[in-house]
Amino acid sequence: MSRPRVPAALIALAGLGLLFFLLPLAGLVLRAPWDQAVAGVTAPETATALELSLFCSLAATAIALVLGIPLALVLSRTAGRLRNLLRALTTLPMVLPPVVGGVALLLAFGRRGLVGSLLYQAFGIQIPFTTAAAVMAETFVAMPFLVIAVEAGLRSLDPRYEEAARALGARGWMVFARVTLPLLRPAIFSGAVLCWARALGEFGATITFAGNFPGRTQTVPVAVYVALETHPDSAIVLSLILLAVSVAILVGMRDRWLGAL
């Protein structure tokens, strides 16, 4: 079946958009000091930052899945003003400048924070400057992406599937686990990828809430920033590595996982 042709003007605009994305990436690849690349890749600091970044971003995505899917479910079943309020709350981190998010996290979970002070005084737990803090910062900024994607998926789901399941005698949990969740798989998947990508690239909230310390809180974006002033070449190599990892994962994702059943 042939699709209708895209108007030439739209193709031109699309081309411009594509160029806008490609040029910076091309700059990164073409200006890379390939002779130093090998040394950069095998340097222990690089491995540390990369490991930490992967760990934190995957942990953040896992938390986002566990908390975000139920949140999306509640959102999609609520109506009216309550829903608007809830949705505004869950998408707030998306519009908040990340540094502001970091400050807010400090004010909530820092030693003098709303919850943090209780934890500190009762158990001596200090959250800022820890890897956990980096994970929290990334979860804060990235989870809304997952919630939005899953909520959209839920709203486009034919309600009759759940009705059919209930008519067959399935109770709430069985309907969720055996009908709703499997049918949501594409939305969950694309939401998780967006979430993970956002978490991987997070900088402002991380640096404000978790600080910067190699091996503990120095994720790749932070490492790149630090390296940029003193060793720009290292910064480029590090950026390239992160780019390569991201591309590998995105390309490895099959279309059918993202597409409809």
């Binding site: 820092g110 030693r111 003098r112 400057f129 640096i207 600080g211 910067n212 630090v226």
Partner: protein, 250 residues
């Protein structure tokens, strides 16, 4: 309707251009862009006001970590004057051929330990910073203040395990002010201008003196105004402002 809007638009554009001298429209006081280390902000803001009142220039300040400013200048950032927090970065800029003449030292700064109001953890010396259970925050070694802090600590043979290596000295200050960190090493000037933290003096024998150089950049649009600004900084008026902000004069 459209004609009026076009007219308005052109007035706005021209007025906006005045600041960067695009159209050759010369305001009364030539504009200058001054790249200055973030620790200089309170002092330089005041010096800037003096520059306006003495009709030397209308300055616009670009405050950031010295290493960030250096990177910007190397990438072709539009600055007229550069005031750095250490000589190493000024040398880098000089080696890139961006200075129009030699730099001059206009101030010194010493390090001081920042602690929470009232010094609740009872910190009195650099050695106290190695106490276990203390949350200490330093500036990253890529920042001049961080580099000097490491110097002071190793000279005093004190090992500190920092919770974070902040990317700007102001980051260290804010963490201590917020109560997230028990102590940090910053400049004397930072503590003077903050008002929210207390300072613990580091004796001169253990301290590091930072030299602050200033220079006119080759790309300066108005070299005369740039030099005049530097003269103001080194003048008694400028030095008084710097000293009030916690710096040592030259």
């Amino acid at each position: 309707m459209t004609k009026a809007m076009l007219a308005m638009l052109s007035v706005i554009l021209v007025a906006g251009c005045g600041g960067s001298g695009w159209t050759g429209y010369s305001p009364l006081y030539p504009p200058l862009t001054i790249f200055a280390a973030s620790s200089l902000q309170p002092a330089f803001d005041k010096i800037g006001q003096k520059a306006i009142s003495q009709r030397i220039t209308t300055p616009t300040f670009n405050y950031a970590g010295t290493q960030t400013l250096t990177a910007q200048l190397l990438q072709g950032g539009p600055g007229d004057v550069f005031a750095a927090a250490d000589t190493a970065h000024m040398t880098t800029v000089d080696s890139a051929g961006l200075l129009s003449g030699p730099s001059r030292i206009f101030a010194h700064n010493k390090l001081e330990i920042a602690v929470g109001s009232g010094n609740p953890k009872g910190i009195h010396t650099l050695a106290d910073l190695s106490r276990s259970g203390l949350v200490v925050v330093l500036a990253d070694p890529s920042v001049p203040a961080g580099k000097y802090a490491q110097q002071a600590l190793s000279q005093a043979h004190v090992t500190v395990h920092p919770a974070s290596l902040e990317l700007q000295v102001t980051g260290v200050l804010s963490k201590v002010a917020l109560g997230e960190a028990d102590a940090g090493i910053v400049y004397v000037s930072d503590i003077v201008t903050s008002g929210k933290v207390d300072g613990v003096t580091i004796p001169d024998s253990q301290n590091v003196v930072a030299d602050y150089p200033i220079a006119v950049l080759k790309a300066a649009s108005n070299a005369a105004a740039a030099s005049a600004f530097i003269d103001l900084v080194i003048s008694p008026d400028g030095q008084a402002i710097l000293k009030a902000a916690g710096f040592q004069g030259v």
